[in-house]
């Protein structure tokens, strides 16, 4: 369950970092906006699926907007500036969210109810399964997208060598805006799927920061690495919470993160090139 959320989060970090070299600290706010939008839109009487699609697209648009309005002008500056800029944007987004939606906690609709299904004899909440399926589906689709689809290939080309790509007539800023759109969709998917089984609260942003751990563990470059990292971190977190209590989840995950940085800053999945983050 947690593994699925971490997978989506780690993908959101990795996609944006690989695509545009920005450590985007507003991913947590993308998560939060996704969940908040679903909770608001579902009150309007629309069916669940359109609500979901509208929310995902809106957050994607927010992502592109953030890129085009404030990140793009910093193109060519060092990644320290863009990371700090993203922190600034994150604070603005979260302040706007709590002004617009207020401090109360919300729950999201559960169109599938609270059923449990049994997988190989073990009962599991239906949303834990949905969460997992969505995450794995996202992994598969993203892999295909970057290998087969023209836009995905353009994204990789523009990330690899922006100058060359733009020389070949690719509008790289449009492509980068697309990367931010994609990351926004992934993050809000993570936010929605997580909040469906628990509640919508501003602490979602802390979950997003913990998502750095699987991304880094996976070497911060590959979809596969991030996925494996996500399930590993989810396992460690579950064990940690069982051993030290619920308040320790941040501490446990970040301790693993520190350990990774100390032992193998390039991540466990790939060799070489420690300059990644």
């Amino acid at each position: 369950m947690l593994g699925g959320t971490y997978t989506l989060l780690a993908l959101a970090w990795v996609v944006i970092y690989q695509g545009t070299r920005v450590l985007n600290f507003s991913i947590g706010d993308f998560m939060l906006y996704g969940a908040l939008l679903v909770s608001t839109l579902s009150l309007s009487g629309l069916a669940y699926i359109p609500v979901l699609i509208i929310a995902l697209l809106l957050v994607g648009v927010i992502g592109s907007f953030v890129y085009l309005s404030v990140i793009r002008p910093l193109t060519g500056r060092d990644m320290f500036s863009t990371a700090v800029l993203a922190i600034g944007v994150s604070i603005m987004l979260s302040a706007v969210a709590s002004m617009a939606w207020g401090p109360e906690l919300r729950t999201l609709p559960r169109p599938l109810g609270d059923r449990t299904i049994s997988i190989l004899g073990t009962p599991a909440g239906v949303y834990s399964v949905v969460n997992l399926v969505v995450a794995l589906l996202a992994v598969g689709l993203l892999t295909l997208f970057f290998k087969r689809v023209r836009v995905g290939l353009l994204m990789r080309a523009a990330a690899e060598n922006p100058l060359l790509a733009s020389q070949r007539g690719v509008n790289i800023f449009l492509v980068f805006a697309g990367v931010w759109f994609l990351s926004g969709v992934l993050a809000s998917l993570a936010g929605i799927s997580y909040a469906t089984t628990s509640i919508v609260s501003p602490t979602l942003t802390q979950l997003a920061l913990r998502g750095l751990a699987p991304a880094l563990l996976g070497g911060f470059r590959s979809i596969g690495g991030a996925t494996i990292g996500a399930f590993f971190i989810a396992l460690v977190e579950t064990l940690g919470v069982r051993a030290f209590g619920g308040a320790s989840q941040d501490a446990v995950v970040f301790a693993v993160l520190l350990l990774v940085i100390a032992v193998r800053p390039s991540g466990l999945a790939v060799r070489g090139d420690a300059r990644r983050v």
């Binding site: 500056r77 922190i87 302040a95 002004m99 750095l212």
Partner: protein
């Protein structure tokens, strides 16, 4: 670049005199002039400004001078504060000076532990690992407080160095004032030292710095360790100042405040640090008085009143974004630009030379 020994000494004597004059002036200002001039309300804000300056200086050493971002301000502040609380809780008669020394040394050791792995490689790992240490420290301090004293928090004894026992705001204003000036002097001393020049070289171009013989890891680690020790001492002072210490104080928003100060003040700028700290700390008070003035028009005032905390956060975020986008060299460059413009007006247009002393482009 390298000055001959002769003009180096002339230069350094001149600089030393300037520094001595400025710091005496500053000292007179915070100890004698300001306390007798300001109202209690302003003095209260001023105390927090002066308290904030050392932490801003510390971040400015790592980020502004050396070019590595750290999100460790709140964590190391908590480490220092909880060392003070823990020591005085366990051994109630520990002299204050010993507590401060312990905070500095443990802060430095923690700095090595956190910084050493992160500064081995280029890039943002220091930011990520200080982010990690923030949440770990938060958890540990929470556990420690709940195990030792419970929800109420630690009670600290009276601050006492050589008989100086600040109790009222005015006395704390002076105490923090002296510490703030000391920290600014530390920053100045490092900025113009060999180490400080290595930091600037690393900030501008790491590869070039390495080629010039700067030992990257050592220089970066030193910057980080000096800064963590400074913040830990600040934290110990903070514990004595508040008197009752609770872990909830050290939220992530505190980190954002310090980052905003350094961005607004300008990377590596010493006067900018003071101006930035003043602006960022007094912002909530300005907003509050603004909302009190709005009381007449009910619609907006009600909204402002309810959301004062969020408006404050939004403004910090917006300040970071606006300064990074439009004034990457901070408030100092704005002052310089306005000054040049005024000079240009004075001299008449046409023969307005481009400022020769424009600060180097950040991270170019």
């Amino acid at each position: 670049m390298a000055p001959t020994p002769a003009n180096l000494t002339m230069d350094s004597i001149r600089k030393l005199l300037i520094v001595a004059a400025v710091s005496t002036l500053g000292l007179a200002l915070v100890v004698v002039v300001l306390p007798s001039m300001l109202s209690n309300y302003v003095l209260g804000i001023g105390t927090i400004v002066l308290f904030t300056i050392p932490g801003a200086v510390a971040l400015n050493i790592v980020f502004g001078l050396c070019g590595q971002i750290s999100a460790g301000n709140a964590a190391f502040l908590a480490i220092g504060a909880f060392i003070a609380a823990g020591m005085t809780h366990t051994w109630p008669d520990t002299p204050t000076i010993l507590v401060l020394l312990a905070a500095a040394s443990i802060g430095a050791i923690a700095g090595v532990l956190v910084g050493a792995p992160a500064v081995r490689v280029r890039g943002l790992l220091l930011l990520v690992s200080t982010l990690a240490i923030h949440f770990i420290v938060l958890y540990l301090t929470e556990r420690y407080q709940k195990n030792e004293v419970g929800q109420a928090g630690f009670l600290l004894p009276q601050f006492d160095i050589l008989g100086w026992q600040p109790l009222r705001t005015i006395e704390w204003f002076k105490t923090f004032g002296v510490f703030a000036i000391l920290s600014l002097l530390v920053m100045g001393a490092f900025r113009y030292s060999r180490l400080g020049r290595s930091w600037l070289a690393i900030r501008e171009n790491e590869t070039a710095a390495e080629v010039l013989g700067v030992r990257l890891m050592r220089a970066k680690l030193l910057a980080f360790v000096i800064s963590s020790a400074l913040i830990a001492v600040q934290g110990a002072l903070f514990a004595y100042y508040v008197g009752i210490l609770q872990y909830e104080t050290f939220a992530f928003d505190m980190v954002i405040q310090y980052i905003a100060i350094v961005i607004i003040g300008g990377l590596g700028s010493i006067p900018g640090t003071v101006v930035g700290a003043t602006l960022v700390v007094s912002l909530p008070y300005l907003l509050r008085s603004l909302s009190e003035n709005l009381k007449g028009s009910d619609g907006i005032a009600g909204f402002v009143d309810d959301n004062i905390f969020n408006i404050q956060r939004f403004t910090y975020g917006a300040l970071i974004v606006v300064f990074l986008l439009f004034f990457p060299d901070g408030i100092e460059s704005i002052v310089r630009r306005v000054w040049q413009w005024l000079l240009g007006l004075f001299r008449g247009r046409g023969d307005d030379p481009v400022a020769p002393s424009e600060p180097a482009e950040v991270g170019a």
